[in-house]
């Protein structure tokens, strides 16, 4: 191609792009909030009310460590005025490049629109040494604290303070909605407390380390993980190991998520006579997990059913 032709081709491409770039952005004036997971976006929606336009990057059904990047994620981050992340490296693998390419200084780390919701949270399972021999380790500890019965209140407080910081004019609205959320939570916490008394000391097996916070908080004993190390699929030897532990310990319930390798989980359940309880690991991971309180309520209910506890009051 001659230089003249090359120049003409480049000019034509740039002119076409200029036309598209000139198209006005017709987005709404609400505070645009993006959460990495629905737990955060639904809390922002509840506390922010009509003042916010929320968006979650993950759907709620995926493996949180390997969410597939989609075009709408980049566009949402580019427009966001407040960005909420779980932290503890939960999203690190897929969010890093998105944030770089979003080119949005309002939500860059260190700016007022960036909220790392694990700040102030005391993580469990913090590795003593970092080596891939330990699997897909998170250097700062287990990031699934949204599944701790006390995780929701921590996240709600973070979301509330971030909203007030970014949009101080809306403080009265945010305070009011936050108080309403806490009242709704308090009612449910009474119910959860009673169920937790029944769950205390029960033995359980998990596929991944998602439910360790929950188990620890209510006093359940995690006797085995089907994954030999976080993120490492179980071998036939691992399946045999788990079966043996379950038989020795008398564990009769396995907690797993929809994304997990449930063929092997079901195989273990068949060999041990255990019940498999498939639980979401985030809001919107099941039809009934519409927000964080519903998620936590549903987890309590399903565990109570699995261990055949008396449920009072009846689940919604």
């Amino acid at each position: 191609m001659s230089n003249a032709n090359l120049n003409r081709a480049l000019l034509a491409v740039l002119a076409a792009l200029g036309l598209v770039l000139a198209t006005p952005d017709a987005s709404a004036a609400d505070l645009r909030v993006v959460g990495t997971i629905p737990d955060l976006s639904t809390l922002a929606e509840e506390i922010g009310g009509d003042r916010v336009d929320t968006r979650s990057l993950s759907r709620g059904t995926e493996n949180l460590h390997s969410v597939q990047v989609r075009p709408s994620m980049l566009i949402a981050l580019n427009k966001a005025e407040l960005y909420l992340q779980m932290g503890l490296s939960m999203e690190a693998v897929w969010i890093t490049d998105l944030l770089i390419r979003a080119k949005n200084k309002r939500i860059a780390s260190g700016s007022s629109g960036f909220e790392n919701c694990s700040d102030g949270w005391e993580a469990i399972q913090v590795p003593e040494s970092l080596s891939r021999k330990g699997g897909d380790l998170h250097p700062q500890g287990n990031p699934h604290f949204n599944l701790d019965p006390l995780g929701g209140p921590h996240l709600a407080a973070k979301v509330h303070s971030a909203l007030v910081r970014v949009d101080p004019k809306g403080k009265a609205v945010y305070d009011k909605n936050y108080e309403a959320w806490k009242k709704r939570l308090a009612v449910k916490q009474e119910r959860w407390k009673k169920i937790a008394e029944g769950l205390k000391g029960k033995k359980v097996v998990v596929y991944h380390t998602e439910y360790n916070y929950f188990a620890k908080r209510v006093g359940m004993e995690v006797v085995a993980s089907i994954e030999p190390k976080p993120g490492i699929p179980p071998s036939p030897g691992d399946v045999t190991r788990v079966v043996k532990v379950m038989e020795e310990q008398g564990a009769k319930v396995i907690l797993t998520a929809a994304w997990s390798n449930n063929r092997q989980t079901n195989d273990i359940a068949r060999r041990t006579g255990a019940k498999v309880v498939e639980l979401p690991n985030q809001v919107k991971g099941a039809d009934w997990a519409t927000d964080w309180i519903a998620l936590m309520d549903g987890i309590h209910t399903r565990l109570a059913e699995a261990y055949e506890l008396e449920l009072e009051p009846k689940p919604e």
Partner: protein, 408 residues
């Protein structure tokens, strides 16, 4: 002014400058006025490792068996195909850098060494140095990162096994609505010749770029691509790419035959659709790319006259167009297992314009996020040449920090 006054002042100056700057070379960390500027290391000394960059490695082992329909010798080969050393970190809040050193065929080479500046306004970003050029969906990836053991045949033939360029590139993207984005890039390069690996036994003219070029004679790349979401689970991507190579020469070692002031271009159109289940455990991807290679696409060397006498050789440049394409279908039935088929064909960029094709069947097992095992079979057809069959086993390990970058 006496020496007793000057000496303490000079000493104080030396210490003060030494605290602010550090010498790049391994010498005493004292920089006096007029010395080459060092780098400021902030709150650490040059003996601290607190600000060391992230280091990662990829190790790629391939064992294969080739069987030929003709006289070529069948047989096995196995060994270390490649090791990539990657070093990356932020330089400051607006720029990051990465360097990839590849060990391949008993040699080390700097495959990438670039700085990307993201402090430009809007969605603009700029990179400079040596980096993989922005062409289609597959040329930006290192070979061990691909879905298949090797890059599709048509890309190898027209662009090279890998295509690092020495130059600069500017990028921008914008959203159209909430679910569609458009990205474009323009690159300008001093060296954009591409690399061919594993084919060093071929004897013939070698392409070499001009040592110095006027602006219009530099190498250029351009890419325009759009991505849009289809339903809850699908993403469709289309794109067009171009690579212009100007003012290059064909030269032959030990011969005076050659041709200068040549140019050629490669154009590509790509289309990819990806579907991912709600849980992210099942995936389906179908895609392809059509390429046209145009201009001075090759040269035939003839050792005329006295064999070995470089003064009477001839070199005939082929000024023509050839085309080719590849397409693939890939299905992942779990987060650990996937399989696919890929077909690629191309007209060979030489005087014969022979039809070449490869059919690849592959199964990939991810033993973990960091260890991957692949079994592959390739059926190759060469018009006027020897057809071949290849069975390959590939084991690839990744050590160190990792991330799932944007492949757009």
């Amino acid at each position: 002014m006496n020496i007793k006054t000057i000496a303490p002042a000079a000493l104080t100056s030396l210490v003060a400058f030494g605290a602010a700057d550090s010498a790049l070379a391994q010498r005493a960390q004292v920089v006096s006025p007029g010395s080459p500027a060092g780098t400021t290391l902030g709150q650490s000394t040059r003996f601290d490792s607190d600000f060391n960059p992230a280091v990662s490695l990829a190790t790629d082992l391939v064992a294969d068996w080739y069987g030929y329909d003709g006289d070529s010798e069948d047989g096995f080969d196995l060994g270390l195909r490649r090791v990539d050393f990657l070093v990356a970190d932020w330089i400051d809040p607006n720029a990051f850098s990465w360097i990839t050193v590849a060990y391949e065929e008993e040699e080390f080479g700097i495959e990438e060494g670039a700085i990307e500046y993201v402090g430009l306004p809007g969605n603009w970003s700029m990179r400079g140095g040596r980096f993989f050029v922005d062409f289609g969906k597959q040329m930006q990836a290192h070979i061990e990162q691909l879905r298949t053991v090797d890059r599709p045949l048509v890309l190898r033939e027209y662009l090279g096994e890998e295509l690092p360029g020495d130059g600069a590139q500017i990028d921008n993207w914008f959203g159209v609505g909430d679910y569609t984005l458009v990205r474009f890039s323009v690159g300008v390069f001093g060296d954009l010749a591409g690399e061919s690996h594993g084919e060093d036994d071929e004897v013939g003219p070698e392409l070499s770029p001009a040592e110095r070029a006027v602006f219009g004679d530099l190498g250029y790349t351009g890419r325009l691509t759009g991505l849009t979401e289809i339903g809850e689970n699908g993403t469709l991507q289309f794109g067009g790419s171009a690579r212009f190579l100007s003012n290059f020469a064909f030269e032959v070692d030990g011969s005076e035959a050659g041709a200068q002031e040549l140019d050629n271009a490669v154009y590509g159109l790509d289309l990819t659709y990806g579907w991912l289940s709600d849980t992210g455990t099942r995936s389906f991807t179908v895609g392809g790319e059509y390429l046209m290679f145009d201009g001075d696409i090759g040269a035939d060397f003839d050792d005329n006259g006295t064999p070995g006498d470089g003064t009477d050789d001839t070199l005939t440049v082929l000024d023509d167009s050839v085309t080719g394409a590849y397409g693939f279908v890939d299905y992942g039935w779990s987060q650990f297992s996937s399989a696919g088929v890929q077909y690629s064909f191309a007209e060979e960029p030489d005087a014969s314009k022979a039809d070449l094709s490869e059919l690849d069947l592959y199964y990939t097992r991810r033993l973990s996020d960091f260890l991957r095992l692949r079994f592959a079979t390739t059926f190759g057809e060469v018009e006027g040449g020897e057809d071949y069959t290849r069975f390959a086993v590939q084991l690839t390990g990744f050590i160190g920090p990792h991330g799932h970058g944007l492949n757009w």
